[in-house]
């Protein structure tokens, strides 16, 4: 044992490796990404690591490995589980041989997600055991338990930290290498009565799953990370139950005070019934402090009915705790104060400060997506057109002054949404924008759908040769793998032509005139056609010399600022200026200036 300062996600990866992990795969997504990245970084060559094309592919790959007796882990964010839910629901019936942990990071807030869905609810729906760590140390310790339970019960298990655990850092006690477990997979043993899903098998499996989950309810009542803490002051008839990071806020709020009876739930499903009943007995009132769904609150309400306990269960359903967004130290301290009739902790009472500048996320200076959006915007000027966006950095194309994202729903949705709009509004020119990584993850089927069903649309691929939003992970189009191999790139153009898109034109969006002409020409063609805007992510390339403004020629018309909204063009003492520290010399503004007042150093 020794101490290290680790991020929660790193602790999860390290804990899994210490538990004998053989294979890890996943799809990037905040706040889960660093789990797989850490595993790749510390890989001594004995671990297979891959970024799969999407979460469904990853989960199926992980299942195959676990069928062989390998210990496998699949990583994703909560909305990724929606993509992987088809194999997940069936795999719950089939089961596994080696330990298999599906790591799903939830994002209360949401801070960087489309939904506030709760994987604990998904656990109950899929009937799979779920582990919910509340700290970085617990994440390290519990990931090993998750593998052990998975293997003992031959079932995949869910492991669901939330953002604050994933991205929190702490000094944690970790195992030395000689304490690591090692798992030698036996290999795949053929048995079609076990590995081939049929209605009869599913019926039998359903019976076993229900029996197993009852057993796990007993088992989890003894699980050391489910903790019942007796009240400090005898006679107090109130109790507080919590989970995850919120539980640490409860501890924080009660530090040094007469705490009531407390319960921490680290295994929300199957719910540790005996422990919960022991907690409830003798209490009048219980406050449930949860993030996302009122999972514990519903369980306790149910248990009170089942066991005829007269306990008033309060929480989100009774509007005592907010039902959306993240909890904070402060919000939990207030919830507890209100519940226990304590005075609320003092908030800062400062004079109102001067108006604070807002710093919204924007496309970076030199981002090629800005040029792509601008080219389409110019080409479609005065025409009735719709621009369906997708998930990635380029969602930021919705901001003024570009204003080029009319819809955004989920991974790969834009290509299909634009078809739907086109079927109802045939006079609208329909565009879908999708990044290269999202294209491979989930837009190829949409392209096939468009071709087959005679859609009228232009698919615009914003190809910056990386998965930029989540921190530049490789994907099939990059020619690199997480095992360090250089492999043949999957060509987006070849894929599109292969599925029947007749016109596929590739153009550098930073060559503005050519880009605009290409859009005009391609959009006017009938049927499904595609434009690949190819230019690398500005963060990954060595910047060129910053642009220069000729003060003789600049009339201060501010067209560059108003048209592009590039952070690299600023006003200094009222004058248009290039911010030297940000400008990458991409040259887009030089092509927008009507007075040719801006030039790039390299060009002259």
């Amino acid at each position: 044992m020794h101490q290290e300062f680790l991020m929660g996600n790193a602790a999860i990866a390290r804990g899994a490796i210490a538990a004998g992990l053989n294979l890890v795969c996943g799809y990037p997504g905040t706040p889960s990404t660093e789990v797989l990245e850490t595993a790749a970084k510390v890989n001594d060559g004995n671990l297979y690591v891959e970024w799969s094309v999407n979460e469904k592919a990853a989960l199926e790959l992980g299942a195959g490995a676990a069928y062989c007796g390998a210990r496998s882990m699949v990583t994703m964010k909560q909305v990724g589980l929606n993509v992987a839910s088809d194999p997940l629901m069936s795999l719950a019936y089939i089961g596994v041989k080696g330990g298999m942990v599906i790591l799903v990071a939830d994002d209360p807030g949401p801070i960087s997600s489309q939904t506030e869905q709760d994987t604990r609810s998904f656990a109950a729906y899929s009937k799979l055991p779920c582990f919910d760590p509340s700290s970085v140390q617990e994440a390290y310790d519990m990931i090993g338990d998750a593998f052990a339970y998975s293997e003992r019960y031959h079932t995949p298990v869910l492991f669901r930290p939330t953002t604050r655990v994933c991205h929190g850092y702490a000094s944690v006690t970790v195992k030395d290498e000689d304490e690591f477990q090692h798992n030698q997979p036996e290999g795949f043993v053929k048995d079609s009565s076990k590995w081939v899903i049929f209605p009869r098998l599913s019926y039998q499996a359903h019976i076993s799953i229900e029996a197993r989950n009852v057993e796990l309810q007993h088992e989890f009542s003894q699980y050391p990370h489910n903790v019942l803490t007796p009240e400090k002051e005898t006679g107090c008839k109130k109790g507080i139950v919590s989970h995850g990071i919120s539980e640490t806020y409860v501890q924080e709020a009660l530090a040094g005070k007469d705490a009531p009876r407390l319960l921490k739930i680290a295994t929300p499903f199957p719910f540790p019934e005996e422990l919960a009943v022991e907690f409830l007995e003798g209490l009048d009132e219980v406050l449930c402090i949860e993030e996302l769904d009122p999972v514990i609150e519903r369980e306790l309400t149910y248990l009170c009915g089942k066991h005829h306990l007269h306990v008033n269960i309060r929480g989100k359903l009774t509007h005592d705790v907010k039902n959306a967004g993240e909890n904070t130290c402060a919000s939990v301290a207030e919830n507890i104060a209100d519940f226990l009739d304590w005075e609320r902790p003092a908030q800062a009472s400062l004079d109102p400060p001067p108006a604070l500048p807002v710093r919204p996320p924007v496309l970076c200076a030199g981002c090629p997506h800005r040029a792509s959006f601008y080219a389409v915007k110019q080409a479609m000027k005065g025409k009735k057109a719709v621009f369906c966006g997708d998930i990635g950095c380029y969602t930021l194309g919705n901001a003024m002054p570009l204003d080029m994202v009319d819809t955004c729903l989920c991974m790969g949705a834009g290509v299909n949404i634009t078809q739907g709009i086109g079927k109802i509004e045939p006079d609208t020119t329909c565009f879908a924008f999708v990044g290269d990584s999202t294209f491979f993850a989930s837009a190829i089927t949409g392209a096939v759908n468009a071709v087959y069903n005679q859609a009228e649309m232009t698919l615009v691929i914003l190809d910056n040769s990386t998965t930029a939003m989540t921190g530049h992970q490789p994907h099939p189009g990059t020619g690199r793998t997480m095992m360090g191999q250089v492999v043949e790139k999957v060509s987006i153009e070849a894929v599109l032509k292969g599925v029947g898109v007749k016109t596929v034109e590739t153009v550098n969006p930073l060559h503005l005139e050519e880009a605009i002409e290409t859009v005009k020409r391609v959009a006017a063609e009938p049927g499904v056609k595609a434009i690949i805007f190819k230019s690398p992510c500005a963060v990954l390339i060595k910047p060129e010399q910053p642009a220069v403004i000729d003060p003789e020629k600049c009339t201060q018309c501010k067209r560059c600022i108003k048209q592009l909204g590039c952070p690299g063009i600023v006003l200094q003492d009222g004058k248009v200026t290039i911010e030297q520290s940000l400008c990458t010399g991409c040259g887009l503004c030089t092509q927008v200036c009507p007075f040719h007042a801006i030039s790039t150093g390299g060009a002259n």
Binding site: Q3, F5, T30, P31, A170, S171, Y249, P357, I561
Partner: protein
């Protein structure tokens, strides 16, 4: 004994590394440490903050308002934004050099930072200011702002380490050719 530290500023100023250096020094001194920072949509130019806690019986990496023993403010408006977290009588080290929001040109914002510094002077009991831009120029590198800020923060005697201890961690972290420069920055007054 616990010490709560809040470091705030704008993406790209070296806040995360500052936080890591303090944490690593705590580890070297066998002091338990927890931290949390903004990650996610915040790219270049976004508000960044890092909560850092040192000491025993830590439960969570974040702390509520009025709990920070010291705020290390890398940017005036960001320091004002996080001021509610400062304890009554807490300390602040402030870089007075403002960073314009990347959208300032578009929105026509007239932010100068001066009104923020004024506000902080009125509301912070122990305020130590430095023009980080001028200090970096004096030291000959725009990349040492975080060491200047960290050195000033250590000298407020709130964080339980000496400059020498921080320096030892820094030496193990930065490339050898930058050690002298960073040592100077840590001792900049």
């Amino acid at each position: 004994m616990q010490t709560n530290i809040l470091i705030c500023g704008v993406g790209g100023q070296g806040i995360v590394l500052t936080s890591k250096l303090i944490a690593a020094t705590a580890m070297a001194n066998s002091i338990p440490v927890m931290s949390a920072e903004t990650i996610g949509m915040a790219q270049k130019g976004g508000s960044v903050f890092s909560f850092l806690r040192l000491g025993d019986n830590l439960h969570c990496p974040m702390f509520p308002e009025k709990s920070a023993d010291i705020i290390i403010g890398f940017e005036p408006a960001e320091a004002v934004r996080m001021l509610p977290y400062l304890k009554d009588g807490g300390s602040m080290v402030l870089n007075t050099h403002p960073i314009m929001p990347v959208t300032a040109a578009l929105s026509g914002s007239d932010y100068t930072g001066r009104e923020m510094v004024q506000y902080l002077k009125q509301h912070v009991q122990h305020l130590m200011t430095v023009d980080g831009d001028a200090a970096c120029k004096a030291l000959g590198s725009p990349k040492v702002l975080n060491m200047i800020m960290l050195g000033l923060a250590i000298r407020q005697n709130v964080i339980p380490f000496s400059i020498d201890e921080i320096e030892a961690t820094m030496k193990a972290t930065v490339k050898p050719q930058f050690v002298d420069l960073n040592s100077k920055a840590l001792r900049y007054e």
